[in-house]
C-alpha cells in the first residue's frame, strides 16, 4: 500500500516540478537555473513545515509517505542541481566556475534556511 502511495505522489511531485520549473525558467529570462532553484527552495520549505508539524506530534505514517517521501521527494531534485552546476562550470573560464560555485552554495544555504522557516511555522501551527 505504502509503495503505491509513494509512487502515485511521486508522479504528482515530478509533474509539479516539470510545470513549475518550466514556467519559472520561461518567465525569468536568465542563464542561472532558477527553475530548479525555485522548485528546490519551495520543496525545502514544505519539508520543514512537515517536519515541524510532525515533531512532537503523532502523524500517520501514510501521510509522511504521501507528502514527504512521495510528493516532496519527487518534486525536489538533487541530480538536476548537480548536472546544471557542472554545465555551468563547463560554460567556460572563471565566469563559468563562479557560476557553478554560486549555483552550489546559494541553494544549500537558502535551502536549509527555508527548512528552518518551515519548521518554525510548523511547530507554531
Amino acid at each position: 500500500m505504502t509503495w503505491v502511495v509513494v509512487g502515485a505522489f511521486g508522479a504528482l511531485g515530478a509533474l509539479a516540478r516539470y510545470g513549475v520549473s518550466g514556467l519559472v525558467q520561461h518567465l525569468w529570462r536568465t542563464t542561472f537555473p532558477v527553475g530548479t532553484l525555485v522548485v528546490n527552495l519551495t520543496g525545502a520549505f514544505a519539508a520543514g513545515l512537515l517536519l515541524g508539524l510532525a515533531t512532537g506530534r503523532d502523524v500517520p505514517d501514510l501521510l509522511v509517505a504521501a507528502a514527504g517521501v512521495g510528493f516532496l521527494g519527487g518534486y525536489s531534485t538533487f541530480s538536476t542541481w548537480m548536472v546544471e552546476s557542472v554545465l555551468a562550470a563547463e560554460s567556460g573560464g572563471r565566469v563559468g566556475l563562479r557560476r557553478a560555485a554560486e549555483n552550489l552554495v546559494i541553494p544549500l544555504i537558502v535551502g536549509v534556511a527555508a527548512v528552518g522557516v518551515g519548521f518554525t511555522i510548523g511547530q507554531w501551527l
Binding site: 505504502t2 509503495w3 509513494v6 509512487g7 502515485a8 505522489f9 511521486g10 508522479a11 504528482l12 511531485g13 515530478a14 509533474l15 516540478r17 516539470y18 528546490n40 520543496g43 525545502a44 514544505a46 519539508a47 520543514g48 517536519l51 509517505a65 514527504g68 517521501v69 512521495g70 516532496l72 521527494g73 519527487g74 518534486y75 525536489s76 531534485t77 538533487f78 541530480s79 538536476t80 542541481w81 548537480m82 548536472v83 552546476s85 557542472v86 554545465l87 563547463e90 557553478a100 552550489l104 541553494p107 544549500l108 535551502g111 536549509v112 527555508a114 527548512v115 528552518g116 519548521f119
Partner: protein, 135 residues
C-alpha cells in the same frame, strides 16, 4: 471530444505522461533504497546520500549521451531525466536532514554531510557527463 483526444496524444501530453510515469518509478526506487539501508541498521543519511550521488552520475551520463545523438527519442529526457532521476534524487529531504543535524546539535555532521554530498554529487555528475560524452 476531438480536442481532448488530440490533447492526450499531443507531444506535450505524452511528455507529461513520461514525466509522471518516470516520477513514480524514481520515488519508489528511492523508497526502496531507504528500506534496504534501514534493514542494514545503518544511518538513514546513507540512503539519501546514495540516491543523490548515483542519480547525479546517471543523469550526467544520460544528458551527455542524449546531446550527442541527433535521433534520440523526444521522451528520453522527460522520462529518464526529469521523471525517474529527478524523483529518485531529493533536495527537500537532503536539506531537511542538514537542518535536523544542526537543530539536534550534531554540528560536525551538519557541516560534513552537505559538503561531502555536494562535492561527491558534483564529481559524480561530471564523471557521468564525461562517460556519456565519449563515443
Amino acid at each position: 471530444m476531438t480536442d481532448r483526444l488530440s490533447l492526450s496524444t499531443s507531444i506535450t501530453g505524452r511528455r507529461r505522461f513520461a514525466v509522471a510515469a518516470g516520477g513514480a518509478l524514481g520515488a519508489v526506487g528511492r523508497a526502496l533504497v531507504t528500506d534496504i539501508v534501514e534493514r542494514t541498521e545503518s544511518d538513514v543519511l546513507w540512503a539519501t546520500f546514495i540516491v543523490n550521488i548515483v542519480g547525479s552520475f546517471i543523469l550526467g551520463y544520460v544528458v551527455a549521451r542524449h546531446a550527442g545523438r541527433s535521433r534520440s527519442s523526444p521522451f528520453l529526457i522527460p522520462f529518464v531525466g526529469v521523471g525517474v532521476l529527478g524523483a529518485f534524487t531529493t533536495f527537500s529531504l537532503f536539506s531537511a536532514e542538514v537542518f535536523e543535524l544542526a537543530r539536534t546539535g550534531d554540528w560536525i555532521l551538519a557541516v560534513a554531510y552537505p559538503l561531502v554530498s555536494i562535492g561527491a554529487g558534483f564529481v559524480a555528475a561530471l564523471l557521468g557527463i564525461r562517460f556519456g560524452g565519449s563515443k
